[in-house]
């Protein structure tokens, strides 16, 4: 018996111990030193499910919800659990065929990388389909209905104001913390401006998932979960009835309407036309609809009320009168002997009225909108002998105009407002090489030349006149539910800006009297509302556009500004209808009808008739058809060059189909859709358009 080998038992023990040490070392490495496995395990098994709170609801001034949340349902399917179901019956309910059924199941499998996770079979079910399914869902194993909150616009109105939400993009994720891919965020309008208030706070629930990605239960008994907090509701000044009425009046027109409550700066209605159905950007078709709207040359997505730049034309005149009066270059008794044309400068400026005495006093000149009188006033302001210099005169005048809120951003609670333009000496120095005088820009006295303002600014200027020198920054939101001290977002809207209160009240009264005369005896006397003293001013601006390398005269832009009632102004309105014709004919009725509707809460029978007439008028500029044709054909040509597929280009070349195509364009009442970079730029950036459209005269 080899007893002397007994020492080897120790070697064997040593081998055992060494092996265990090696294992212990690796365990130490895995479990104590390396931290990545814990993270990997969490990634494996934890699913942080984000709980989205309801976004805040937006109410109008009468507490009607104009932007609300609704629950729609998605039909979900877990392919692995679809067993023994009556496929024919199911397809009959869903109104699809069995091939489609199989395709969709395959699609879900493909998207989820397997058949164990539920995927969307059909999203955003129509209510009747949902009702049918909810009764029968028990028969279809593997299928279930899942809630999905969506934004709804119950009044189908105020698309531009309210805005819409969309998935966040990388820029937003980069700029603001707290967003992740797949989150929704306000993209325009109040939805964007008040995003912080509306979004609420997201919650997180930690779920445990298994190796097939099925959620099997809560993690750690919800200890780490955070609850979601609903978004805060916004109370606005919007009167949704008036808003809808204004949208109806602006149908089939291009332009904008802004109505402000002068006492608070609260915006009662704001329309930009053409507009779009806000609900079309929430449902399952939203991407398609958005693309359509985005390619439309008439730019329905553009909010012309804050981004459209227009020459105010004669609507500027009350302001010109106020400046002249305050500067002391005219008095209420000043007149101008106008014979239908202003000849004091090299180029004549036409006036619509030829009869002598139509501008014998300032008040009458306002009522009849005499161009000569206001050209003269403008030149007197610039060449004020007390100032001694036309340069200083122009800057002084610009100061006044800016004080009226024109030519700079007002600070409305909507994103991407445009500032407009009131020219200074530098721009004329550049254009006229320092040699210019008050005659150079004489048409600025009648709201033209380089002057460009937004409809919002026009309405706000009316508020300043109505308030006799002061205004509140125009805004939509009156209050936010759950208001606390930390909220500063609304603070700037409660500040009264006393910009022009140094002008005496009686000066205002003189001009206001002139504006009242506009509706009594002047240009807008046709739209007078019995029992309401409305102060208003019409404007008509000629404009031109270069189409096919030819400078073409377009129909005039119709403009109307007003406030009412004179004694206690409750509403100030600016209306712009592009290429419609006379301001008194197309813009004034819209403004007047809105005032009547808002102040009287109802319309007289003749006003109702008038409203129908205006609403049914199609004033979409016809040049868009031609412009669209050019753009479409250019795009088709580009497409043909790129892809060697000329089928779409041929439509624009063969004469017969050409005619048919133009014909269809004309038949489209809502503006024709065009795709093309250059025309889109023109339409989306009104500034560029302004370079093309040059006014020659005004009335």
């Amino acid at each position: 018996m080899p007893v002397f080998n007994q020492s080897r038992s120790n070697i064997i023990r040593l081998i055992f111990a060494a092996m265990f040490l090696v294992i212990a070392a690796q365990l130490f490495n895995l479990q104590v030193i390396s931290s990545k496995y814990r993270k990997l395990a969490q990634e494996n098994a934890l699913f942080p499910k984000r709980i989205y709170p309801n976004r805040g609801i937006i109410f109008d001034r009468n507490n009607k919800a104009i932007l609300n949340n609704a629950i729609l349902y998605d039909l979900m399917v877990t392919p692995s659990q679809v067993k023994n179901i009556d496929t024919n019956y199911f397809c009959q309910i869903m109104d699809i065929d069995t091939a489609e059924f199989r395709d969709r199941i395959q699609d879900v499998k493909y998207k989820n990388g397997g058949s164990f996770r539920p995927g969307i079979f059909q999203d955003l079910l129509a209510p009747d389909l949902y009702a049918k399914l909810v009764e029968n869902i028990w028969q279809f194993s593997g299928f279930n209905l899942q809630e999905r909150p969506v934004r709804v616009y119950p009044y189908n109105a105020a698309a531009h104001i309210l805005g819409y939400i969309g998935e966040v993009d990388s820029a937003i994720i980069h700029r603001y913390s707290g967003y992740q891919l797949g989150d929704y965020v306000g993209r325009t309008g109040l939805e964007q401006y008040y995003e912080k208030q509306l979004m609420g706070r997201r919650g997180i629930e930690f779920w445990i998932k298994d190796n097939k990605n099925r959620l099997v239960g809560h993690y750690e008994n919800k200890a780490d979960d955070t609850p979601s907090v609903a978004g805060r509701n916004l109370r606005t000044y919007i009167d949704v009835n008036l808003q809808q009425f204004a949208e109806k009046l602006m149908a089939n027109k291009v332009g904008a309407v802004v109505a402000i409550e002068p006492k608070t700066g609260g915006i009662i209605a704001m329309v930009s036309s053409p507009d779009f159905d806000p609900n079309s950007l929430t449902g399952p078709e939203k991407k398609k609809n958005y693309a359509k709207l985005n390619l439309d040359v008439s730019a329905p997505l553009l909010n012309r009320a804050i981004k459209g730049l227009y020459q105010p034309g004669s609507a500027y005149k009350p302001i010109g009168a106020l400046i002249g009066l305050d500067e002391g270059v005219i008095t209420p008794a000043s007149g101008y002997d106008c014979r239908g044309v202003y000849l004091a400068c090299n180029h004549p400026v036409k006036c619509e009225h030829k009869d002598p005495g139509h501008a014998r006093t300032m008040r009458i000149a306002i009522a009849h909108s005499c161009n000569s009188f206001f050209c003269n006033t403008f030149r007197l302001t610039l060449d004020n002998p007390e100032i001694h210099s036309v340069r200083r005169g122009l800057m002084k005048w610009k100061e006044y105009v800016n004080a009226f809120g024109l030519g700079h951003r007002i600070g409305i609670d909507l994103p991407s407002e445009d500032g407009g333009n009131i020219p200074d000496t530098a721009s004329y120095d550049k254009e006229y090489n320092h040699s210019w005088n008050s005659c150079t820009m004489v048409t600025m006295g009648i709201g033209q030349d380089k002057m460009e303002v937004t409809p919002l600014q026009m309405a706000n200027a009316m508020c300043i006149v109505a308030n006799k020198g002061s205004f509140f920054t125009p805004h939509f939101v009156k209050s936010i539910d759950g208001h606390s001290q930390d909220d500063t977002v609304l603070d700037k809207f409660s500040v009264k800006h006393e910009v022009l209160t140094h002008i005496p009240d009686d000066v205002y009264e003189d001009v206001i009297s002139g504006m009242q005369d506009v509706t009594e005896i002047g240009t807008a006397s046709a739209v007078r509302i019995p029992g309401i003293n409305m102060c208003a001013k019409t404007g008509t601006a000629e404009n031109y556009l270069t189409v096919d390398h030819r400078r073409t005269k377009l129909r005039n832009n119709a403009i109307f500004v007003c406030f009412a009632p004179r004694e206690n102004p409750k509403i100030a309105i600016a209306v712009v209808v592009q290429n419609a014709g006379f301001g008194a004919v197309w813009a004034a009725p819209i403004g007047s009808l809105l005032v009547e509707k808002y102040l009287n809460d109802s319309l007289r029978p003749e006003s109702q008739k008038k409203a129908e007439e205006v609403a049914n008028a199609d004033l979409v500029p016809k040049y868009l058809v031609r412009v669209q044709f050019l753009q479409d054909s250019t795009n088709a040509a580009r497409h043909a060059i790129r892809t060697h597929d000329s089928s779409s280009l041929m439509k624009y070349i063969i004469p017969s189909s050409r005619a048919a195509l133009l014909d269809t364009f004309k038949k489209v009442t809502i503006l024709p859709r065009l795709s093309g970079p250059s025309i889109k730029q023109n339409m989306l950036k009104p500034k560029d358009t302004a370079k093309v459209i040059k006014p020659d005269s005004t009335r």
């Binding site: 064997i12 479990q31 494996n44 098994a45």
Partner: protein
Amino acid sequence: MSQRNPGISKGVDWPLVWIWTALCFIGISCIFAATYREGDNVLQGFLSLKTDYSRELLYFLLAAVAGVFILLIDSKFFTATANLSYALGLFLLLLVFPFHSRVKGTESIIRFGNAFQLQPAELCTVFVNLALAKYLSRIETDFYKPRSQLVAASIALIPAFFSILQNETGLALVYFSFFLVMFREGLSPAVLVMGFSFAALVVATLLLEKNLLALILTGIAAFVIYILRKQIKRRKGILLAIVGIWFICVGVQRFVVPFMFDHVFKAYQVKRMYDAIGKEYIPKNAEAVQEIEKKAGGKKTDNNYNVSQSKIAIGSGSIMGKGLLKGTQTRYEFVPEQSTDFIFCTIGEGFGFVGSILFLGIYLVLLYRMVTIAERQRSTFSRCFAYGVASVYFFHISVNVCMTIGLAPVIGIPLPFMSYGGTSLLTFSIMLFILIRLDADRQMVLR
């Protein structure tokens, strides 16, 4: 097995029995933790025989009954029937060839009905152990003769050969653990060193680039020559030996290993070896790809995935672990083969580093206890048998745990008393009880 019955309990080594009981219960709990789902009726689960843990409990009871029977048998019975049982083992192994059923790519299982199956290659370790002990304890055996060593090696390796034929390379490797017994009985340590070196060289070949490894080997050789330069001056033979060893090593890494991978091992086995060390195996030809796919088709999981999931599960346990039934990885089927080969993950995730070390400590105590017991035997037969049991346990424990923590290839070797499986539990228990029975008669000299 009541302690009061002097017939059975006399001389029984109770620590071993307690360790056995403890390990079995830990094993059943771990299988329970791995397969229990929230809402299952626990009592029904344990009684129904439909769940893994209930079956494991049944196997435990069967093993206990078998243990009592073994304790009632005269220890001379084992020496007397050792050779006969070896023959029976070989017969069972051969029986597999006509009667096997394919499970998970192996061809080593005989099925009885639906639920119960037998893996003779596993059971055979007991018989080999007995036969080897019998051979080594013969008076006429002089283990210092190479012929005896060759016979002993054949006793151990014939079943290994059959196992390889049944596609159970892992179980075949188990039989190599009997070389530890032979080492204890006087086999030259050079055999162990060479075997270990060869394994190390193969792993190094896999890990390192060909020429770099050759360079390292040359460096080692040069270093050894430098150290031994004085002895070499006296005896030139040493230099020759060193150069010879260097030559063999380079030859092995240059030619033998690639040859083995291309011709001896199956493609899927090579892939598993690569998986274990975390390298990607690129099959040489289309046949190899097909073979790997065929092998994977049965299992439908990738070993690389298994190992990484297992490492994640164990690693996520951190120091203190998540607690039993709290592990997210082991409970939700992220680790495949959870209740069998990768049962250690449950411990690693549930009880962390501390728990794992304590748990492995139990195994270490068991092994040390068996070595102690082996050394206190008067008869060579008992000692050899005890060492055999310890070696087989050691091999299983170290390879299985190393495989779950990414230190060894996945070769499908169960963890004693822990992994789900009746054959393995019975085999390990029978071995242990035979050892206890032999130990009870440690004063006798058995031949």
